[in-house]
Symmetry: C2
Subunit: 130 residues, 2 copies
Amino acid sequence: MASIFSRIVAGEIPSYKIAENEHCYAFLDINPLKKGHTLVIPKKEVDKLFDLDDELYTELFAFAKSIAAAIKQAYPCDRVGMAVIGLEVPHAHIHLVPINYMSDIDFTRPKLQLSPEEMQEVASAIQAQL
Amino acid sequence: MASIFSRIVAGEIPSYKIAENEHCYAFLDINPLKKGHTLVIPKKEVDKLFDLDDELYTELFAFAKSIAAAIKQAYPCDRVGMAVIGLEVPHAHIHLVPINYMSDIDFTRPKLQLSPEEMQEVASAIQAQL
């Protein structure tokens, strides 16, 4: 069965999309640690990041760099942190989180509860910087 | 003043080195979350990962991919997780941590206390897979 992320890419499940190109897709994490918390994924369904072929792996990180720059402009922060854990959804994904403190990227803490309107505002704010 | 990581690259401060190439360096995190926890850095001292120029950024992630493969062979695990936080040392660094559970890459939990002999064993185990 297709991963939930493949279904998002296919448009079968809605997402707050930030950007996409031929091989990569970026959208808001539905359970954000901070406003601006974004997931960057390859469209191809591969479970583990380091199993991506070198070309797609490189393209994915280049895409993530451009998205991170937009996040930092939309949500001023010390820097954009990155994490790849991936035990929950078997489809490689890079977390990008605007951070000022270590705790901002602590995945054990409670997630933000944002309304659909707030999520759309976040997506639009980042898109405006692309 | 040179960052502690620049001093490690220069050999002024010892490290448990895993590998290096012309522009990148990998060594064990001195406060590991798990055996195999490695830091991958550019030799050039740049504070923030996303401020690296595109070429060095790409090279750093390619280097990290090869190191991650060796870590996974030396320390069998579900996958190698990645994190870039970077608020403590102003020199871009990628954490690579062999993980089976989310908690394995929880930076808020107590670090392992490994003896110098144990650290050297870990470094040798990873190097043997390169």
